[in-house]
Symmetry: C2
Subunit: 362 residues, 2 copies
């Protein structure tokens, strides 16, 4: 077949993302090339999730083969070409451009794992860009733990016209909402592996994403891209019960300034990651304190709009930084009850996101 370098390149880049290092099965390092209904279909899988992309072009002869993902991706990236002609013969892929030609040894497409297809009709739709944003703000909070499979995933709760994503590792919780483009007829909850959700956030661009639900699989379809993932079985923890109903102190502060100050303070928290925040509504300051018997100590004031009572709380600074780094907002609001109750971070001026973090009890 003949296609443009640009289209082939972008298909290969997306498909390669699933492929990790150290696969024990060599075929999992390969991308499946297959002609399908007048287009070239590229597929990759790690047995937990799979990505399909389609490249338009002129098919002269049907064919299929698998070749090493990294090799072909790097090669196409580095050759100067407008159009590329692809043929396959004897388990070898032949690429030909105006001034370049290559033979890449592959493996038979028969060895490639079957990627499940979901036969059900579309369940709902969502805007790709908004979906990506929420994914980024939520997924980092999942537990990457094999001993607790449910919380190694992200909970997708579909209800009427809203999709709520939630992730927790039992020390903190992130929850984000995105509007659905089409209402769902009945509420539905599924748990999707965090790694698949992460990839989804990276590859979904603007445009509508269609969501299909199978028995044990979920499929996200964007134009020319499709991600299929297995679902995680089990009962997701009832996280709603730990979200406080009200708070004692609230402080609005610049997100970047808080990140920088936490980074400076963290240099003196090497022994336990503990950082103390003193919120003082009188002098409108959050004072951030840290100390280490070996290294020294630090005390930094940060201007903030503070309402409610004077309050003190201690956090693992990593749990704050991960949330703050995932948000795009200029200002955030920190909401506190007291030294031994869960605290919240929300973006200022936006209601679709909530982060709950447990304090360190001293």
């Amino acid at each position: 077949m003949v296609c443009t370098k640009k289209n082939l390149n972008s298909g290969l880049t997306i498909t390669s993302r699933v492929i990790g290092s150290g696969n024990t099965l060599p075929i999992l390092n390969n991308i499946l090339f297959k002609t399908e209904e007048g287009r070239l279909k590229l597929s990759s899988t790690n047995l937990e999730m799979a990505i399909n992309t389609w490249v338009g072009g002129k098919i002269e002869e049907e064919g299929e083969i698998t070749v090493p993902a990294r090799l072909i991706n790097d090669y196409v990236n580095n050759i100067a070409a407008d159009k590329i002609t692809i043929t396959s013969k004897n388990h070898t892929l032949h690429l030909e451009a105006e001034k370049a030609q290559t033979h890449i040894k592959g493996l038979s497409s028969e060895e490639f794992p079957l990627i499940p297809e979901i036969k059900e009709e579309s369940f709902t739709k969502v805007d790709g860009k908004e979906f990506s944003h929420v994914i980024k703000e939520v997924t980092f909070a999942a537990a990457f733990s094999e001993t607790q499979p449910e919380i190694s995933g992200v909970l997708f709760s579909f209800d009427t016209d809203t999709l709520t994503l939630a992730a927790t590792d039992r020390y903190r919780l992130a929850e984000g909402k995105v509007k659905l483009s089409t209402q769902v007829s009945a509420p539905k909850q599924v748990i999707v592996p965090a790694r698949a959700v992460n990839e989804l956030g990276r590859i979904m661009g603007s445009g509508v994403v269609e969501i299909l639900l199978g028995d044990a699989q979920i499929c996200f379809k964007a134009p020319d891209i499709e991600l299929v993932s297995r679902l995680i079985e089990g009962q997701y923890p009832d996280y709603k019960q730990i979200i406080p109903g009200s708070y004692v102190t609230e402080a609005e502060v610049g997100r970047q300034a808080l990140i920088q100050t936490l980074k400076a303070a963290s240099l003196f928290a090497s022994e336990n990651n503990n950082i103390e925040l003193d919120l003082n509504p009188q002098n409108k300051q959050i004072v951030i304190k840290s100390q280490s018997s070996q290294v020294g100590d630090s005390e930094i004031g940060l201007d903030a709009k503070i309402s409610g009572q004077k309050n003190t709380i201690v956090f693992n600074f990593r749990y704050l930084l991960e949330c703050l780094n995932s948000l795009p907002d200029e200002n955030i609001i920190l909401k506190i009850i007291g030294a031994s109750s869960p605290a919240a971070i929300v973006p200022a001026g936006r209601e679709n996101y909530l982060y709950i973090v447990m304090p360190i009890k001293i």
Copy 2:
């Protein structure tokens, strides 16, 4: 003393560069703070080389102390401040800014290694920017080998109004020339450790660099920055004898296009790094070929201005890429005698640089 955050920051960043990881002597992880003639002097050393920088400010009391380089560098980087007050007491450094204060535990300045001072007068001067460029283009070619100490350094040859830098690992050689701002009275050659030369290239900005020669040391002085390095004893190989007097084929080609093509071709050279270049003056093409019994093969043509005879040569692609990546020029000229003679790369339109590389004999 009181100084600006900006000046302290830039002094710390430069001084920290000498400090590697895994120092067995804890004091070598520290920066020496010392008041000196109305300024703050910051010093670091790895016993082979040392960097001194000076920060202006208002000294109220003389003092000296050493503190961990990475810690203080990261801290000052992350606090919001215009002015910083620095005091030391009981082996603890106290930094105070408008809203931040910190105590950093240090080690006594008495434990800090003595940094040699060169008493001799200035030997010569050179423009910092031009010097940095030549350093970057030459130093990578040195052998980072402890068994051959002479070629683990860069040869500095001072002659009349020219400084020539040369580095080789016996498989390739880089030579660059830079004009001196003041003539030297007698020719002189010294060997400077490649790591010190590398750092020198990174920290020297615009402005004049003064060069001082001691018995076993060399010192490079820029405004507010000084790098002192030990010299390597021994006889540098007589590299001039391997530079060919004339060539059989010359090809001018775009540097970036050649880099990209070599990268694509290198994917099929995993077994031995060998890449074949066929230069053909008739069709004005360099054809770059590579193959691997396991992976496949590649053949890519590159437009070039070629004069002389048709010619073929095989290189280790890494030796070509290292040189091409170090140059800023748009076009380079590849000069070849034949398959078993040294070849040359020079920038098109510039005469102060030469790279010689041995071919792979098949």
